[in-house]
Subunit: 641 residues, 2 copies
């Protein structure tokens, strides 16, 4: 039976399990990438593993998130990342070199390879035919150490592209159409594979825009074939030798299929506050726009910004609009500076921002109160812009540029002649801002600032788990409840002892102190515990505070995986009503837990305080049990290295 | 008797008093400028004055400080500034158009005119032959309303420039030499007037670098003649008609004179942590450099950045140095983008920052812990970079660029061929980012965000002042003690009710609540009360809390002026030891204060709590008494409008 692209790549990298959707598989990872906001922790974890040099084909450490540097912490993190990369065989992309996904596509992505990245938009690499997956920092650290990546084998959704985009309709409109049809939950447990005659009409950066924002579908990743267009892109990047052809077999099958006629698409926006709240520009109408921002890993390629420059040339930004533009990479930035397009952008009144993620991750450029902000970004969650009541619309660069001129949401086709940008036959190649690792890592001193603390390591699971209930919470607790973010707490991401002081700080300010005093503890919760952001600090910081188990009615998927990674037992009530048998402060006890894990489907817990007993289910695979017993994935990996 | 330039301009603008150093004079102000960090309060004050249109020849509102926008407050302020400018006849320079002093020099500065600016580096305008003085926002508001500016008639220091700068020695080295000789207190009560044959060898931007950093001398301002060089600059800016010749009479005299041989200067730096800690680069030696920042109102002109581009062209920033460059204006930015220099800067690995003040005012780019940072800026106070233990060196662009390449402090003459940059015969003129005010101000709605509150207005002085001592403090209390700054409090600068909650918060956290409860109060202090930053919030916020008088052993000059401006009585003990007769919480009383002010040299205060009495001196001029009686300068100006 023929294979689709996803099956071909997974098959070639399969280390364990079978390619049956829903089953756990393990794959070999060829490349990794990190960015600085998640990277510091990932490299601290890598260091803790004790592996001298990365075992991947290529690992790259990027700096693109914390570039505003409103305190010493960011620059210290950059310096740590630079030296730890040099020591352990990792390439380092310096601040100013651009956004990880854009740079990686230009200079490092290879069709047919697997990549794990500690950033949710890692699927950008699918535009060049990679299986590129976002994951937690510890998973990336393990991959750098040569360990397999475990995932649930995904279903493959075939998206059949027909026709061709009309002028001023763009790749962003394609992914917005997919989001409109599938919704932000439509991709869960799936990989989106693009195919059909429309594929050849899309450039690699256009394909990357589409796979990038597949993250907003909740998909494991998205992927395009590697074809002549891919070959031409790689040739223009002086990397033709990296090309391999990669297309689905003619008799390949898909678990689901949909068809999109590119010719039928028109300019669209995602309305506040969800990437799948998609409407055509015409449907929304000419609402007044206060801010326009162009850039991000979704839409900051050479051709994106050349289109914007073409639209803005000779015009002036509307008096009541603030227009910010952040080029996606040094390559893009320098090419625009060499060919006059950057001068046209500056002339129009655009505010040129550093080549970095910037406002897409809420780092600066918060709009005014109640503003309408049109952005070429990928997320428009409420408050993410830094302005609680702002209304964010996600759009193509063409729509954004049109709105910047007119001051209202505008169909770019109304501006007159369409702007066409040809892909360059040759990109400007200069990798001087990517530093190769040291030949002799042992000679390199890793520089740490006072805010970068050693990674705390969990202890192996004890035979008998006895601990007090430190906190009892209700349903739908998010990782933001467990480990808050924000400008005060984010700079502490490399400092678990400091950040752990804020665990549950919004729920119960005394939690951290109480946990420290108790020395060990258990958290009890209701349904859907740990939903929301994938931040691993929501497991790591409680681990540091001595949390040994979390007992709930149900868990959110990623947080449960993070709990296991850090050696915290995730347990669910056999009878949900047993939640009522526990009060905050009760002492709970599980005897012979190490023995019973894997042998018995349920564990008995005794409430020492009340004398009552009840049953909980661990629901762990053999591998997960071994991880828990070792005290987490790091210890497990070291034991099995 | 012949006149120097300062005497000529002051004479032509004198409204009151005599030009005798040390005496109070009043002058007419032709132009004003504001920046956004001080501007919002200045325009709130202007609004409170009830004057519909500014009465100056030209008033410009710039946005260059709060451009990172880490919350809604900044963009709201920008919108307020834009609309209030349109309403009241003020030109508005949009965010992205550049740093106020650089843009004003390029597009608005006129030789022989007076200018008041709510920024301490307003003396930049002296480079084009203006008397340009920094002042508090209220003084600028009064000037916009047509009121005179009162100042102590300064001494004039003649700085005789001879010879010519050697290649790779620059204007920055001239002002560093002046700082080395005179110190940061050497300019107090003085204007620095440059003269002599060396003047003609310096371009207008070079002269502006020198007058700009005259602020660090503590000088009232600095000024250069307006000559053929000035004429050529204005012609290249399409503003030749603004030129007038302005030179000192041949028999002009000066209170002090010094001579600097430009030919003898060599590359210098100001060492941590003071702008007058000046040494030659050779003396300091090749210390390791972690960060280089180029820009600011001191050194971000076209020729400054062309020199930097010339040095960096074809080279790569040293692997352990982070180089940031912020062009001074849109004009500079676009010219560099058009002629390829910007591409050379990007190619070298420079991080291109928005055209704004940026890291010079601690807005981003904080270096790593313990870093050595070489900056073309004007201040290197400890902690100002955002990194408490960083060591900041102030230098010319040439030295900064050399250090960026070599990674150590480097004499730029060692790099090989000198870079020479000719002044352009024609600058690129495009004023599209400067918005003219509305023809009909009445039609303009001023947009205010939730953080912009109406200005609180003081009440007229009561006949009998009876109030409790809210706080008793010691010597050398700074305006940072009175009204702290920092990232938490700065965004509240447009919101006096909110920011007043932080008055004395570091000294006594209960102060604000206690003051509000009492309704009115008095502060008692020791020597040198109110030293440091000129921030008017240190008077305005206590006024809002009901502070009616401050009684001390002595005051710092600017803070005392601010207290008067906001209608707070500044009183000093006749017998300093009477400080001991007052305890916090005592009730003090001055009877018939409105009558006695101006009639009696000393006022008697009765300590109602202890029954004791003691004498204090107001030391106020008749005008100041009228201001105090009116409840502050705003009320006084309205009464006399």
């Amino acid at each position: 039976m023929g294979k689709n692209i996803v099956q071909k790549i997974l098959d070639a990298h399969l280390l364990d399990g079978e390619l049956i959707p829903g089953q756990e598989i393990a794959i070999r990872i060829d490349q990794t990438l990190t960015q600085d906001a998640t990277g510091t922790m990932s490299y601290l974890q890598f260091e803790a593993m004790g592996v001298p040099r990365v075992k991947t084909e290529l690992s790259v450490s990027y700096v693109d998130h914390n570039t505003l540097q409103s305190g010493f912490e960011n620059a210290d993190d950059h310096r740590f990342l630079q030296t730890v990369a040099a020591k352990h065989g990792i390439y380092f992309s310096r601040p100013g070199n651009g956004i990880c996904h854009q740079v990686h596509l230009e200079r490092f992505g290879v069709p047919g390879k697997t990549m794990l990245g500690s950033d949710s938009h890692t699927p950008t690499g699918g535009g060049i035919g990679m299986i590129a997956i976002g994951a937690g920092g510890l998973d990336v650290a393990v991959a750098m150490g040569g360990g397999p990546f475990y995932l649930t084998c995904p279903k493959v959704v075939g998206v059949n592209l027909t026709g061709q985009l009309s002028p001023m309709v763009s790749a962003k409109d394609v992914i917005l159409e997919v989001l409109r049809r599938l919704s932000v939950k439509g991709g869960v447990g799936k990989v989106i594979e693009y195919k059909g005659p429309g594929v050849a009409t899309l450039s690699v950066p256009e394909r990357a825009t589409i796979t990038n924002m597949g993250a907003e579908l909740g998909a494991t990743t998205s992927i395009f074939p590697s074809d002549e267009v891919t070959k031409a892109f790689l040739k223009a990047q002086n990397r033709e030798s990296a090309w391999v052809e990669l297309v689905a077999d003619s008799d390949a099958t898909y678990e689901e299929e949909i068809t999109i006629d590119l010719s039928a698409l028109e300019p669209m926006v995602a309305c506040p506050h969800s990437p799948d709240a998609v409407k055509t520009v015409t449907e929304v109408g000419p609402i007044k726009v206060d801010q326009v921002l162009i850039g991000s890993c979704t839409n900051s390629s050479y051709s994106d910004l050349m289109k914007v420059a073409g639209i803005l040339k000779g015009k002036t930004v509307h008096p009541t609009v603030s227009l910010g533009i952040a080029p996606g990479s040094k390559q893009v930035f320098e090419m625009l500076a060499r060919n006059g397009a950057l001068a046209d952008l500056i002339a129009s009144g655009a505010r040129i921002l550093e080549s970095a993620c910037g406002p897409c991750i809420g780092m600066g450029q918060s709009p005014n109160s109640g503003a309408v902000s049109v952005r070429t970004f990928n997320r428009n969650f409420e408050g993410r812009s830094g302005t609680a009541d702002a209304k964010i619309y996600l759009s193509s660069p063409e729509i954004a540029a049109a709105a910047a001129i007119t001051g209202v949401l505008t169909d770019p086709r109304e501006l007159g002649d369409a702007i066409e940008v040809a892909m360059p036959e040759q990109f400007l190649i200069d990798d001087s801002m990517v530093l190769a690792p040291a030949e002799e890592g042992a000679d390199v001193e890793v520089l740490r600032g006072p805010n970068i603390k050693a990674l705390p390591i969990n202890e192996a699971l004890a035979d008998t788990l006895q601990a007090p209930v430190l906190l009892k919470v209700g349903d739908n607790i998010t990782t933001d409840h467990i480990m808050p973010a924000g400008s005060k707490i984010l700079p502490l991401r490399s400092n678990i002892p400091a950040i752990s002081q804020y665990v549950f700080s919004g729920v119960d300010a005394s939690f951290a102190d109480r946990a420290k005093e108790a020395g060990r503890g258990i958290i009890v919760g209701g349904q859907n515990y740990g939903q929301g952001s994938s931040r691993e600090h929501a497991a790591l910081a409680p681990m540091y505070l001595g949390v040994k188990a979390v007992i709930t009615q149900s868990f959110a998927r990623i947080h449960r995986a993070n709990l296991i990674n850090f050696g915290i037992l995730p347990l669910t009530f056999v009878n949900e009503s047993d939640l009522d048998k526990i009060s905050q402060g009760d002492e709970l006890e599980i005897v012979d837990v190490t023995t019973k894990l894997g042998q018995e489907e349920a564990l008995e817990i005794r409430n020492v305080t009340t004398g009552e007993t009840f049953s909980v289910r661990p629901d762990l695979t053999a591998r997960q049990i071994a991880i828990i017993k070792a005290g987490g994935l790091l210890n497990y990996t070291r034991l099995n290295a």
